[in-house]
Symmetry: C2
Subunit: 120 residues, 2 copies
């Protein structure tokens, strides 16, 4: 039993019962995405060894890669000092982003805004 | 002007007017911490070139390293595909965590819970 009540109680869930999970490539260290987990998603992630999130927009559990095949195999999990954020290291079977990009953070601030830091 | 109204409007702030900001060491690629920014915190980060967050517990702007000296110098900023999470690459002047650890994610799941992934 990887996630009993005492462990669930030790995690600082937000008001919606969620915790943010940062997903990082275990090999390249690229930050791939951030998504949210409720206790069920975390339990399924631990049980299956693949990331499962809670989709806030669709209000369902979301097994990453279920349709695309781009699953993320769990390698390491860390929790931060105040137990309100997870860092999950994975081996990704393919791109993390629905756009086909390796990770969701492919846009720099300059690309997003047309402004660079020295444009003040 | 690095953060005018059109840029603020393009960011998907949460119901509290916040966006999560993942902070990664630009050199080592270690994920150091996650914190939250409102528009003022983001504006000050861009203007000063050092990370400034919104403290949800204290409800004030929080210039990281203001008291400890462990500021984080802005190197790159990225935004994710749905514009609701920031990834900020920094040069840290010292530990990111208030415990003195380099980053806040120093506890593995096994250390936090006493359970390993193969304990099912």
């Amino acid at each position: 039993m990887l996630l009993d009540d005492s462990i669930v109680a030790a995690i600082k869930w937000d008001a919606q019962g969620l915790i943010p999970a940062i997903v990082q490539d275990a090999r390249t260290k690229q930050v791939l995405m951030m998504a949210w987990m409720n206790a069920d998603a975390l339990r399924k992630t631990l049980e299956t060894g693949e990331t499962v999130f809670w989709s806030r927009s669709r209000q369902i559990l979301w097994h990453k890669g279920e349709s695309s095949g781009n699953v993320q195999i769990l390698r390491e999990m860390h929790i931060d000092c105040d137990a309100d954020t997870l860092l999950i290291l994975v081996d990704p079977a393919g791109p993390a982003c629905h756009t086909g990009e390796t990770g969701c953070f492919y846009r720099t601030w300059g690309q997003f805004t047309g402004r660079n830091f020295d444009d003040i």
